[in-house]
């Protein structure tokens, strides 16, 4: 399986580490117990298109948000998360 890292280019998936369900947004630290329980413990776990978080541990260490099909393993999109995303978009805009 190959993931197209926006920093390094196309790489074999063994360079990346799966960081879990990427469709969740981390609640604010002072959110209540129910919100954090849902974030930490509950998953939709779809059979099909799934948003995931990966870390390019064997490369540039970027945190990536990947859309992938959990049946065919087809990867639809890969984008950076966090501050790198803003800088990347700004430069892509030029």
């Amino acid at each position: 399986m190959r993931i197209g890292c926006p920093v390094c280019g196309d790489r074999d998936a063994h360079e990346f580490t799966y960081q879990g369900d990427g469709s969740r947004t981390t609640p604010p630290l002072d959110a209540d117990q129910d919100q954090w329980f849902a974030h930490v413990y509950e998953r939709t776990n779809p059979m099909g298109r799934h948003t995931e978080c990966w870390l390019h541990t064997g490369g540039c260490r970027a945190v990536l948000i990947v859309e992938r099909d959990t049946v065919t393993h087809e990867i639809f999109s890969v984008r950076l998360a966090g501050a790198q995303a803003a800088i990347h978009d700004e430069e892509a805009g030029q």
Binding site: Y18, D21, R43, N45, R68, T70
Partner: protein
């Protein structure tokens, strides 16, 4: 002792002996004479069997080459008898049942756990109006895809007590089911490579012994005597320091477990319905009262869901969108068939690898899940490299042995690595899931406990801790201590 006739033949439920003796339909199912004769002979046989006089089977030769075997029990005698007649008398292992409109209990999922549940519902709780509906063919899911290891060497008492119940069931399963599941108690040896790991195994082994489970802590030389072909040279990157052995653990033939439970359940009246996918649930108010399937509506007083890796999708059809479960692919490998080479089950402590040799001679092994969600029942090559480099590092003589086949199963990884066997989450529904790597070894215990939970509408002590709401309460059962990360269990 209930006498119940169905279209094709006489069923006789045989009391407490709990073994199935009945003669379901035979090929052309005609004639009253056959039926009365078979009931009389059944009584005769029952009496003889009850006094444990050797197995008696009677051949009634009725004209032409059609013959009727009155007993359908597997045994060396029935094997010899059939051999003389060109093996034409064997019955279907389980009937190709047509779905009836109403059952007391419908089990969704024809894997090991679903079939075992149906069997124990009938045998332990006298519930015969039970159906198992399977989307494809029984035994096609994880029960047919695992590395066949059976053990109860767990740390936490909630887990070790449950899996030890499984061990006691395993030890008489072939006779219970009248089907050789080939449970080979050749021992499971977890290798340690550092003092710290030895201490960890000491804690686990002592916990097992306190729960009355067999466990031995072996030093390096004892391990070497038991498994001489591993690498004890100074070239070993992580020298073997010792290991934790559970002598009663071992392996079993996975397909035989599915077919054995199916046949035994069928003999107790359970309908096994293949190619029958559940597309939705019938509800009255909040209560689940049946299932919509590709072969019509089936009403049921109670619905048990035991679909392992497919849990999230099936429960989504009951309106449950989110569960503490992720489906991950776990790959397994088998080598070409070889003369006896590895005589026990071994797990490598410095990488994720478990390996044993099937009775047919193939080395059966596996290691980590691929690490990303997957419903594909296949994985990718990095796991091959990790698992096989561990195998060849542990057994340097395996470099020349060849890999013959590689496949994958869908693991229902729970948030703490322990299973869920519980009433709910909706009224009339019962959930059995969260098996991670441990589903196969749990098959009998899971079936037994899930049957109890369904029949009594309340968990047995053994699965009382395996609730769905334990996570919200913080009462997690985290064997490996890696927290709410399904891909790490």
């Amino acid at each position: 002792m209930a006498l119940r006739t169905s279209r094709a033949g006489a069923w006789v439920r045989c009391g407490s002996v709990g073994e199935a003796c009945s003669s379901p339909d035979h090929a052309n199912g005609n004639g009253g004479v056959i039926r009365t004769a078979s009931i009389f002979l059944m009584f005769l046989r029952k009496i003889l069997y009850y006094h444990h006089i050797c197995e008696l089977w009677i051949i009634v030769v009725r004209g032409g080459d059609e013959a009727l075997i009155l007993t359908d029990r597997y045994s060396v005698l029935s094997l010899l008898g059939e051999a003389l007649r060109g093996n034409r008398g064997w019955k279907r292992a389980w009937r190709a049942a047509e779905p009836k409109p109403q059952y007391d209990v419908v089990i969704v999922g024809g894997g090991g756990h679903g079939l075992a549940t149906a069997y124990y519902l009938a045998r332990e709780h006298g519930l015969h109006r039970v159906a198992v509906v399977e989307r494809g063919w029984i035994g096609g899911g994880n029960v047919g895809r695992n590395t066949t290891i059976v053990r109860s060497n767990y740390l936490l008492p909630e887990n070790s007590r449950f899996y030890e119940k499984g061990m006691t069931l395993w030890e008489q399963l072939s006779r219970d089911l009248n089907f050789n599941v080939m449970f080979s108690q050749r021992g499971t040896l977890n290798l340690a490579h550092t003092p710290g790991q030895m201490d960890g195994y000491a804690r686990r082994g002592n916990a097992m012994r306190l729960e009355g489970i067999d466990a031995e802590l072996l030093g390096r030389e004892e391990v070497r005597k038991m498994v001489p072909d591993m690498d004890y040279s100074d070239q070993a990157r992580f020298p073997i320091a010792g290991g934790l052995l559970q002598p009663r653990a071992g392996t079993a033939r996975h397909d035989a477990v599915a077919w054995g439970f199916a046949r035994a359940a069928d003999r107790l009246g359970v309908d096994i319905i293949e190619n029958c996918e559940v597309t939705g649930f019938i509800r009255s108010g909040e209560r689940i009262t049946g299932v919509e399937t590709t072969r019509g509506r089936i009403h049921a007083g109670k619905v048990g869901v035991a679909v392992a890796g497919s849990t999230s999708e099936v429960m989504r059809r009951a309106g449950i969108e989110r569960l503490p479960i992720e489906s991950h692919v776990l790959q397994a490998f088998v080598s070409e068939p070889l003369k006896p080479l590895i005589d026990t089950v071994i797990t490598f402590g410095a990488g994720h690898l478990y390996i044993s040799q099937s009775d047919k001679g193939g080395l059966v092994f596996g290691g980590d899940i691929d690490g990303y969600n997957s419903w594909a029942q296949r994985g990718n090559m990095p796991v091959h490299e990790d698992v096989i480099s561990s195998a060849v590092t542990l057994f340097p003589n395996l470099a020349r042995v060849r890999l013959l086949r590689n496949w994958g199963g869908i693991m229902d990884m729970s948030m703490d690595g322990s299973p869920i066997i519980t009433p709910g989450p909706l009224p009339g529904m019962y959930l059995n899931s969260g098996w991670c790597y441990g589903g196969f070894k749990a098959t009998p215990a899971s079936g037994w406990c899930f049957a109890w939970t369904i029949a009594r509408d309340a968990p047995h002590d053994l699965n009382a801790a395996f609730t769905l709401d334990r996570f919200a309460k913080g009462r997690v059962l985290d064997e490996k201590g890696v927290g709410p990360a399904p891909e790490l269990h």
